[in-house]
Symmetry: D3
Subunit: 246 residues, 6 copies
């Protein structure tokens, strides 16, 4: 099912400008290294809710957007991805049919074979579930031949939730542990493109180690995975379709 | 992770003699066709709880065991699997450390790369969860170098629950839809080795169609799956370990 | 509690024009045969999301609505129900207070004694949960004497979710198995009023058989139910109120 | 399905001698008034875990059993039920195959049409889930023609969990609210047969009022239920089988 | 963590004018007696959905609001709290960004150290979850330095859901049992300020007794709690932060 | 409720000899520093399941027990706790009434005011849930005056599950984040008493940092917690009893 000789297309729908780096940087770099197209859609810049330092330094709203955009572009480039900003505003990120419609157009354009987004629950940040609801709704709409948008109706790409900051409080239970060892250096470089959140560099490096230890535990010791295996955790939204159990 | 050039080894732990045919026949035939070793362990013959017709015809307990064993062997042969009977009794299947120890020996011997068993909940049949608990416990014990049994410590083979008769009442939520179209004929032939339950042949053929329709729905229409796709549903016990999201 | 000599009134709130046939046709026909009033409210025609064939044949949006309306009317007639179309649009079905208010008026007018609608979760179709949320909200509003709509305040009719296409993925767990054997012929005739989805006729016939087998399993073999028992599955939203456990 | 002209048979499986009075006294009295046979099986007398007052008064273990048995017999008589004591010991109530086998014999003998027992979770009292597990297992065993016990194989009587002391902590969610108004006087008299727990008389009277208020809320104000409606709450284990939604 | 010499500030966000009395009167009175500031925000007066008696007596909408406001003020005074009415309308209480923004301003003004609100699920009253969603969203927005509202960014005050009318149907599981014995008289007096719902006075007195019995059960008999302990139940939204387990 | 001038008594029930160090070392050291009595019960030494290195080095079963006991004693001393070994065997840890009875005797002897143990689910290690089930059962038995063991009946000490290795797979959701910053050095020293698992020292230091970050996030930035806050996560089994919400 999932093995095809064609190149894939990875779509990441992110509420704020930095989320895709911390939470899915490994998956993005792996896809890019495989030669897949990777498109990151940032619904907002995180200009109000995730830019405390810049506000304290006295930047204006527009100034903060420029800073965040530049940083996210650098990070995306380091990972091998294209990034787009829909500038829909944050805190709150307001759900609207226009915004969903914009996402449908993106789906129809990039025809993703895999989709990544936030979890549907996050008591610490309401923008994250709002982004996830819109990403999921747009995916279903894009499948309908009767939906009025250019391009072919979408297939049924699998969707994965990436890991939230406090996973247990967000009902996040890892279904998939992704081995990001081969690209961890790139993820680290991308993180270092976000200088305002320097304390996160080590935090997410530690998390990658932790998920790596769990990955080895679930893979079994016989597979010869290196001591320094790094991992990212994901949860599936739809059942996996496959021709062989493994 | 899961892609290796070595041949795999599939272990199926089944409470009664017929369970593996109805619920996992497709997965077994696929593995056998790939050249994997397949070992089915029937903890009992289902001689008391799943042989109503034979009891009504007046057979003795021992006579029923012989009938059930022969049928299961025929079905296993049709699927390409080896079958073993531990003759632990059914209705109830009594959990014991000796029985778990027997299973540990099997794990160490066949070194499974994939394990299939029943769900942990089944309000219609207490033997099924009992089998699952023992299969899971034995797998963990077999991993310990300090457990006293011949052979090498086991790795960490993934475990899948196969589909129970009333899935929603058993908290069964499909995580994996397996395409069994290429081997459905073999599954049908294996089912026909169990003449006492002839009404089940069509029931499980219908179920395979139903899961096949869902499989196509989750795979997307673009994949060109045939109209007659047949499927089996499974639930994962442990997170999937992988090098690529798909 | 639930046994009364008065005639009942069944209200079915359906997102699209066809849903009530596949999912609740048996319950509708049973109610109609008992002499209950049955009112089906289709919030949309399913003109965008569930009319792929018509779109591929080149029909216009308005043309598709006409086709879908006629088919749904035929199916409703075959079941013995009245059908109303609110033409609120689909894909997406947009929740609004006006639409909820229309539903409150329907509740006050038909004074349902039983309500059927979609499940609150459906990752394959966002219109279904939207319809369910509005059906549930309108029911509560209609109960308030202070809500400004004609008619008497509503009582507290029980609500049942009918079965979604992929029940386990929609957190659907059958609480009630309804014996639709006496009216299955009518349900089949109603399905045959929807020619564009001919593959569904057998799919939902198979499902009725499957739920029928489970119904017999839960009823016990002593009740003398026929081999060909047909069933529909429902989930209760509110506790059952009764004068006797059974 | 559940409407039959034959008399019913209610079986209550209770861990200790008093449980059936507080938790299911209304259902028992309703069944008895309908003319159903009612059999209460007390697996123990609650001699260690639920007789603190008697221990403090200096009674011996055997003396306490005699007191508890007499009280339970009086309460059962007040409700119209037969009571049996299996004297299996409490705190802990030890699960065993012999005890399950005794229960299978009871099932085969009294052929229950309805079964009541404890919830499967109770972090305050491990004997309650132990009783429930055995009651459920014995019911399944009694259904098998191949199980060696006198009498006909059991059908599939519905099972209801009665309400535990702290329902939310026991994952108890009421599926059924039973109107016990017509027999509440008998339940009160039965409670008064248990003098050592006098503080419980009012506690369970208050609970019946509370469940009565909820019953009226779920039934709707139009049904003309009296202001003093009394209720008991139950949770279903298996789906309800019915010929009409209500 | 939670022990500070500064005075606390309790914020209660309530959908209708009476909710805070029945459900959180004890917590409010305890806080007021400790000298904490207590602010109750009533998003509506409950003028349509919870004033059936007044409607039947022929009052106008505006007249009912006046009655409900006066009663709520009296009750708040009896408890020692300030009450504010946002007059957002009820049945339905419509979520809006303006209303959330008003709440953000309240958060920034009163700087709560503890927040109380409704549960996120309530199938009997959609206004309750709507109030809870807005209370939670506003709390997160108020934390962001970039959110445009006067005052300092909010800390992370713990949030507790108070008990809904039918707790099990609202997925309410008590995490905290609060001893309100010292202030129960004040709660009773506050309840008596709501004469239209006189039947609730005893209902919620009985509930306080019931939660009191459970409180003693969970505290252990050695603590010497009085026989007449009264309690209120709460569920935590966020993990408790503490310097000592107890 | 939880504030008392008497000294507390902390009881930790651990399946293997090392568990209490990694998972609860901070809580133990905090209690010891407060002057509470701390008793750690190791049901086994972890001699088979958690001593892979020693087995590979060729030690005998008895030799491994001696090593593990000495290490655990050193770690307990570093934390300020007494440790006891019940030597019940591991892999599997077999539940028995004798072992539960031993635990009842411990409960009666040390009269714990707080209890810590494993989670009830752990698909990676069956000994952990077995230990938890016995710890919980013994606590309930020890409360009964009629249970035949020396000492006074136990009160109702709160029970906390400590964090398992893969929390999400064990249904572990932190209810309490404990600030262990003041004693982290002691925890680190205790970990260093277990030389065979040197890779765990950093792993659990990283985890303490991670839980510390979350602790600060849930406590709010205003509390002035240090940048290097270290934490441990716990889940409550019973509702918290308190006189003030915080």
């Amino acid at each position: 099912m999932s093995d095809t000789t064609d190149k894939g297309s990875l779509l990441v729908v992110s509420a704020h400008a930095g989320d895709f780096v911390w939470r899915a940087g490994g998956a993005i770099a792996l896809a890019a290294e495989r030669g897949d197209r990777v498109t990151v859609v940032c619904l907002s810049y995180g200009e109000r809710g995730e830019s405390a330092k810049a506000w304290r330094e006295g930047h204006t709203l527009e100034g903060i957007k420029v800073i965040r955009a530049r940083e996210a572009q650098n990070a995306a480039a380091a990972l091998g991805a294209e990034v787009r900003f829909l500038d829909a505003g944050d805190y709150p990120l307001v759900e609207s049919h226009d915004l969903v419609d914009e996402l449908v157009h993106v789906y129809r354009e990039v025809a993703p074979t895999v989709v990544l987004t936030h979890t549907l629950a996050d008591p610490y940040n309401g923008d994250h579930p709002a982004a996830a609801r819109m990403a999921l709704q747009a995916r279903v709409l894009a499948q309908a031949v009767g939906y009025d948008a250019p391009g072919e109706p979408l297939g049924a790409p699998p969707v994965f939730f990436f890991e939230p900051h406090q996973p247990e409080q967000c009902d996040f239970r890892p279904d998939v542990l992704l081995d990001i060892t081969p690209v961890f250096d790139r993820k680290r470089k991308a993180m270092e493109c976000l200088p305002a959140q320097q304390h996160m560099w080590d935090y997410y490096t530690d998390l990658a180690k932790r998920r790596g230890v769990q990955l080895k535990r679930n893979a079994g010791p016989n597979l010869g995975l290196p001591h320094t295996t790094m991992g990212e955790a994901y949860a599936r939204v739809y059942p996996q379709v496959t021709g062989a159990l493994a």
